[in-house]
Symmetry: D2
């Protein structure tokens, strides 16, 4: 049976790589983003549907799941990628921006995770994957809002795993510990592979998806070979 | 010189114990709470001021610091205790309540920490203490919102420590790993000391406050002797 | 070019599953164990060589690498599986047994890791995988020796990763958080998949081996879907 | 009643500071070291007894506890400080030295902890403190042996805490995350307090000792205000 994959937050290279890899492996792919027009080319390339959705909106998220389900079917697999960050000395941070960072990076994960769990519990299976960062496990100076959001998302993933895994829903959290390669951040010629290849990350997501339920991973971290840590 | 202590979130027994211990050690104490009338008796008992403040409000928090500073002077020590939780199966959680949990438990910590840091950086010293819970380091089933908030608060504390400690501001995070004794949760007779004595917790907060800056602790966890973990 | 895999410590079902999976993927496999006669059938089945080696012996380990290299070539991939445990109330533990637990579980990992690294640094590539357990990250009551050994092995893996990964040697540590299915520990009928399928674990080892160096994982934990944690 | 404190491993400035602080607080102090003659002056200064003991020796440790008990009484408090390290590129490390590092840093902790627990369980109370380092929680490049020993010691402390705390024996583990000030490592004038003051560390050990059993800490980390982490 064809699997349905929903990828939320498609701005980064990672979402595109996931979409391509999932499509190549025979899945039907839905993409959601605040600005879905950015996804036109990708959607055409891999035959995916794309949807407008602000992941931190209590009305957008249920509407997204309704649309995807109507168009493709209930997702077997949901990936949550959105994040928003604001940086700078703690005392100069704009509290409005900090709230947004928390809402997009963490609260949206709850909204999407809850909507996904509702369908998956009914159907008796599914996988929910959350994308973390170095800031998921280490709070860096001048970057409190990102740490708040990503730590919080990790807490959500752990809690969901403890609750949902015994109900046959695999929850996994990935700590991307380094810069992801993209058009804006190309791999430096003199130091090959020092940025994370999004295709490589995507393959590990797929590997985790394919794990038998007797040996599920909850957390997997990835970093380039030369990354200090 | 008399130290000024500001304790935010005074509902729990811990805040009262901290207030008493700080007063006993010669500090001037300010208490802040959403419902300050609850604090009348305690404030009279120890000669403290008390203030109304919703810690998750972008307007209340700066106003609180302004009032405390006008009344007592700029705080040398700020403790952040508020939390809000909603529990239950993930799919039954009310998203409005989940947002509130995140805002009170985590975002308020940012607002208070930022306001405290502004004054402390100017004065060249200070201590900011955050109260965590078991859920700061472990996401429990049916308790995702508390994990989201408390994980996020821990990320904030780590980030603030890395940024502010080299500027002579001590940031500490306490993991309270067990139930705190209170009128509502008395210590069971047949199992003495199986709940955390808030006076004992408060003493460890004071011990950490008194650490010389050559040997500062960032994180201290506490639990009853018989607590499984 | 055919890859050479050396699996040390072949008593458990995991080593056999790894050996079969590696052979199936075209690798030449060497197996090492204190009692290699136990491996006769497996070795014949998959066309592997097998060797006698006490992994905690300073003389056995270099001899093992010499023999494997002479017979098959230098290993591209080395897996360290041995462990030894003694359990019981702390005060009743036999110190001789505790030393053995530390030597087999941890020190042997150093000896094998060092021997592997010597050849791999010279050849400019390689992978070294260490098998951990729940006890790698949590010290359980009445099981101090296993925690000592497995925590220590994890420290070794982290240190080796920081030193060797920038030299193109992938070091990974797996936290097997649950009981591994075996003839002695069959999966209970009434609770399917509640023990770790060694074939599932082995597949994740292979997935990690195949990661591109721009996105290497250092630590991956696995547990059955119904495992409390 | 006078408390008896036994401090094992007295080479470092930390042990001397602990001894002075404990004596000042009215305890009777016993010091143990491989080379006790180094302790003559300190022992005279504070009226302590000192003993020769190789902490990694299965015969020395029981003999030490027998002597201390005969001379002063059974220790209420035992501190384990010894460590041994060998550094360098992994492939150049001498396996004999690596074994010694593991035995002194970790195995000796077991021997001393077991001997202490035997007496304390009989008497129904006691405290056992272990000294860790940055390497207890992070394995650094070119320092695998220290990570192996210190990770292992942390595993021991966790396991002992889970087993012994419900029997009224407090077990604590301290992560000393930075260089400790000493005659050989003076605090740099231009960067005051950038090394850990052993007196400050000792005070935190004493604070933890004084915690009521309803609010015990298992792990406390300390670092200088300017230490990167």
């Amino acid at each position: 049976m064809t699997e349905i994959a929903l990828i939320v937050g498609t701005g980064s290279g990672l979402s595109a790589s996931l979409a391509r890899l999932f499509a190549k492996n025979g899945m039907k792919v839905a993409l959601a983003s605040r600005k879905p027009q950015k996804l036109d080319a990708l959607a055409r390339e891999i035959g995916a549907r794309h949807y407008a959705c602000d992941a931190s909106s209590r009305s957008d998220v249920p509407a997204l799941f309704k649309s995807v389900t109507a168009d493709l079917g209930a997702p077997d697999l949901v990936v949550y990628n959105p994040s928003y960050r604001t940086r700078g000395p703690l005392i100069e941070l704009d509290p409005v921006e900090v709230e947004k960072a928390l809402m997009v990076t963490c609260y949206g994960g709850f909204l999407v995770g809850q909507a996904a769990a509702r369908q998956m519990l009914e159907r008796g299976h599914g996988s929910i994957l959350f994308t973390g960062a170095s800031a998921s496990v280490k709070g860096y100076a001048q970057s409190a809002p990102f740490a708040m959001g990503k730590f919080g998302l990790r807490g959500l993933a752990q809690s969901m795993a403890r609750e949902l895994q015994p109900k046959n829903i695999h929850v996994a959290h990935f700590v991307i510990d380094g810069g992801v390669r993209s058009a804006r951040r190309p791999d430096p010629n003199e130091r090959p592979d020092s940025t994370l290849d999004p295709g490589g990350i995507a393959q590990t997501y797929l590997d985790v998806l394919r794990q038998p339920r007797s040996a599920w991973s909850l957390e997997v971290e990835m970093r380039p070979w030369v990354e200090p840590f």
